[in-house]
Structure formats: C-alpha cells, structure tokens
Amino acid sequence: MLVSPDFPNVTRFTVAISKEDVLNWIKTYAQVIAENEAFLTDLDAQIGDADHGANMNRGFKAVLTKLPAQEDKDISTILKTVGMTLLSTVGGAGGPLYSTIFLELGKTLADKEEIDLADWANALEAAEKGVQNRGKAVPGDKTMVDALEPAVAALKEALAQNLSFDEALQKSAVAAHEGMLATIPLVARKGRASYLGERSAGHQDPGATSTYFLIDTAAKTWAKQNTHK
C-alpha cells in the first residue's frame, strides 16, 4: 500500500493490469462475442444488415488464432496485432472502428509493462478519439461512440474521485451499459442505421452493444475483488 503521489492524502492500491490480464480480457471478449453472435446479429437485422455478430465473431476468432504467437510480446504489440487482425478480418463499419480501438490502445500504451487505471483511462480516451476521427460520429448519433464515450468519462471521474480500481472499472461498465441503452430511443445519424431515419428509433445499436461488452469484459476480467480506496 503506497501513498499516491497525485493524491497525497489518500492511500490506494497500485492495482495494475498485467499483460496476462490484457490477454485474458481479449480472450474472454472473444468468448463473449461468440456467445452473443446471434444477439448482435439480431440487433443489426433490425436497423442494419444482420452481420455485426458474424463480423465481430469472425474477427475475434482470427484474433484467437493469432494470440498464441504473441504471448511473449509486450502489451502494446499484442494490442496492435489485435487491431491489425480485426482490420483484415472484420470488414464493414465495425472492422476499421474496432481496429482503431485496439491500434490506439496499443499506441497509447507503448512500452508499458503494466497498465494502471490512469493509463487505461488515457488509452481508452485515445481509442474513443480515434473512433470519432475515423467514423465522424459524435455522442448521440446512435453508434458505438455512445457506449465508449460515457465509459471513458466514468473512468476519468472515478480517477478524480479516487475510487478503487474495481469500482472504477465497474463504473465505466455501468456507464457503457447506460450509453448502450440510451441508444434505443435515438434516431441514427451515422452508419447504416441512419438510412432508416425515424424508423431507427426504438432499437438498440449493435455496435454500442458490442462496445459495452468490451468495457464490461474488462471490468469483469480485471476485477481484483478489492473495494478499498
């Protein structure tokens, strides 16, 4: 237990995310995607073209075959490899966007042996910016940004409030979940659902859903069962 240099009055655990954690997150997410393929596709069938589940699953299956050869690489390289693999296997809108997430995470976390909460918040913020740059969507457009942006905001707030590691991740997952649900009433302004105009309202965005799973899987696989401040 150390005294945080930034918040000198507060003690906190230096709970960090190891390379194994990162690998575990990615593998678990691949499993979550596989289990939810039909669900994501159903969502996409309603306001898109019924492929988001298959696209993501194809991509993360490919990632799983790539991972074994990456296990002795560093976190950044692993994340970039995931990004490149998604880029060449997912296709559609999801491909470049999820690829961007992992490439940006990899870029931001260059040379890190371990990631702390602040690193993670920074990296996820960079990923969010990357997605917004690539896709030109802003919050409220009914896209994955609507899950990503609140997750980043919640993480940063948790950092400011000096919440525990687990709590911070949990908050970001809850925020992503709320962001995902908040896409339901929205009229899409970006992506394929935007072709529907008003008819896109009343449906949950598939990309926001898979992004919520991503954040939620991080919270779950990285949880240290440590609720101390």
Partner: protein
C-alpha cells in the same frame, strides 16, 4: 434456410472458386486476401478501376471484372464491406502505372475500408482516386447523416467508367466521369420478401404475406415504408416518382432505364415493371434510349426490384455501347 450452399462460412470462398473455374479466360482470383482481377492485369498505361463491397450482390462486383469494366473487385463477407488489405492488394495488382480509381458505394464500412486502403496504396506510391456512389433516393440525404446508399447506379458507373478507362482516359478524367454519372443517376428499390444471410440462417426481416417494403436497401436494410402489396403498375409508380422528382429528370431528357431484380424476382416480372416504367416516362416526355433488365445487383435471394434512371448524353451513350467482356455483362466482343 433453403440455399444451395455447404457451410455458411465457406460461401464466399467457394463462390470465388467457382468463378475461378468458370472464367479463367476473363479473370483470375487471388485468395487471402480475396479479390478477383482481370486475367490480363495489370494493363500497362490504363487507369485501373477497382470496386468491391459485401458479397451477396452477384454478379456485382466480381462479375463485372474484365475488359471494358473493372480491373479488380474485392468481395467482402456476405453483406460486409471488404477489408483494407483486400483493396490494397487488388489496387497494387492491377495498377498499370496510370493510377487506380476506387468506385465505392456509400456505406460507412465501405468508405472507411476503401479510404484506409487508398491511404496505404498512396503510401506505396500508387496514385489513387475514389468516387462514392450514392444514388438511393429512398434515403433522406443530409449533411448530418451517412447520406444516401449506393445501389443500382454502381453497375452503370462501373460499365461507363470502365469503358472510359479502356479508351485511355486519365485518372482524373475517369474520376470526373464517375462523379458525373453519380450526379445524373438515381435509384430506388423494393422488396416482396426478405433475404436470408447464410451465417444468420433466418430471414433478416419478417414481411407478412400481404406486405412489401418500399425503399429497401440491398442488404435487406429496412426501407422507407412498409405497406400492403400493390399491383406492379402501382409499385413501379411508387419507385419511379421519387427518382424522377429527385434529380429531377425532365421532359426532353434521354435516360437509361435499368430495371433490376433483387435476386428472387424472375425476368417475367421485370418486363412487367419495365413496361410500366417506360410508359410513365413516356408520359413525362422522358425518352428511354438505353436499358438494362435483369438481376445485376442483387440481395441474395430477396424478391423485389429496383429501378435506376441515368440521364444520358452522347458521351455516356457511346461509353455504354462500348464493348464489354466480363462474366456478368458482355457485348460487342
């Protein structure tokens, strides 16, 4: 799901193998990354035309590779845009030194993947221009949305710009011509039944026995409105009117009238629609000078049809009539 397929995940691969075996004189197939390219590529000194998109729209795009049309086509998974590495490799393979034009349908995924590929290709010293097709009047256009989908006009653009490239026009000229085609063409489609994406195994949407979807997208995306099935003449009107009013097409205009099957609608019905569309245009003083009737840009086995109108002039007529030799479109050779 009633399909002549083996495993859903093998559909695109096996289709490519079929194309490769069927048309070795016209095209070659590259696997992993997947693309179809002209058997004689690269054609030295000719601008290369590359397109692509999700599979499930056959014969588009792979069927349009060959002399007088595309130099390469990049097929994604069913209804999923291709990945940048496919487009990059295809671009490098067919570049004949005069630059490469990407014809991209306006879908977020297609745009992003093609853009990334273009950036990478430019990084490797290839001159690349991209033109986006967005002809679907079913979609409300706005600066604040993804805009309109690219649909039927893509086929006409690929033919016309392909002929221009064959003629020896420069990359800039080909790109300008593609933009001109885009600016003069409009489309709209409808569905009587849903398609079934192989890996999904059930119809994308439910359409009751007495209903149809007007303004459907080519990936089974829902359209403008759902309504009771109408007679073909009425449906033709429902498709044609928004098309004509959007550009607008005017009395005295010469047009190419393209009546397309979404896949499951047979030719006999297309001629019934063609007949009515022709007559409606005639009443408006719009003259059909060229036409195309058949399943040219499909949505798997979806029943339904789309209409595309392209305003023609002497240049476009000449390029349309120019010889073309591809698996899916052929004349003059």
């Amino acid at each position: 799901m009633k399909k002549l397929i083996n495993k859903p995940e093998d559909v695109v691969l096996e289709e490519l193998q079929g194309i490769e075996l069927a048309h070795p004189d016209l095209v070659k197939v590259h696997y992993d990354p997947n693309f179809i390219y002209r058997a004689d590529a690269p054609v030295k000194g000719k601008v290369a035309i590359v397109s692509g998109g999700g599979s499930g729209h056959e014969p588009m795009h792979g069927g349009y590779v060959g002399k007088g049309m595309l130099d390469a086509a990049c097929p994604g998974a069913v209804f999923t845009s291709p990945t940048p590495d496919q487009v990059l490799e295809a671009t490098k393979t067919v570049d004949g030194g005069a630059g490469v034009l990407h014809i991209v349908k306006n879908y977020t995924g297609d745009i992003m993947n093609f853009e990334m590929a273009a950036d990478l290709a430019r990084g490797e010293g290839i001159e690349v221009e991209a033109v986006v097709v967005n002809d679907d009047v079913a979609v409300e256009d706005s600066l604040y949305t993804a805009g309109r989908r690219g649909v039927g006009l893509t086929v006409l653009m690929e033919k016309i710009v392909g002929a221009a490239a064959e003629e020896g026009r420069s990359l800039k000229e080909c790109a300008d011509l593609a933009r001109k085609v885009n600016s003069q063409g409009r489309s709209m489609g409808m569905a009587l039944t849903s398609c079934t994406v192989p890996h999904v195994g059930k119809p994308t949407f439910d359409l009751p026995e007495d209903e149809m979807e007007i303004g459907i997208g080519i990936h089974g995306e829902p359209g403008r409105t759902r309504m009771k099935i109408q007679p073909a003449d009425k449906i033709t009107e429902l498709l044609l009117k928004p098309i004509v009013e959007d550009l607008p097409f005017k009395a005295g205009d010469e047009v190419l009238l393209f009546v397309n099957s979404m896949g499951g609608t047979p030719l006999i019905e297309l001629y019934i629609v063609y007949r009515k569309a022709f007559k409606l245009l005639e009443e408006m003083g719009i003259k059909v000078v060229r036409n195309l009737i058949g399943p040219y840009i499909t949505s798997l086995e979806m029943a339904g049809a789309s209409i595309t109108l392209l305003k023609m002039d002497e240049e476009l007529k000449k390029l349309w009539d120019a010889p073309v030799l591809t698996p899916g479109m052929r004349w003059g050779i």
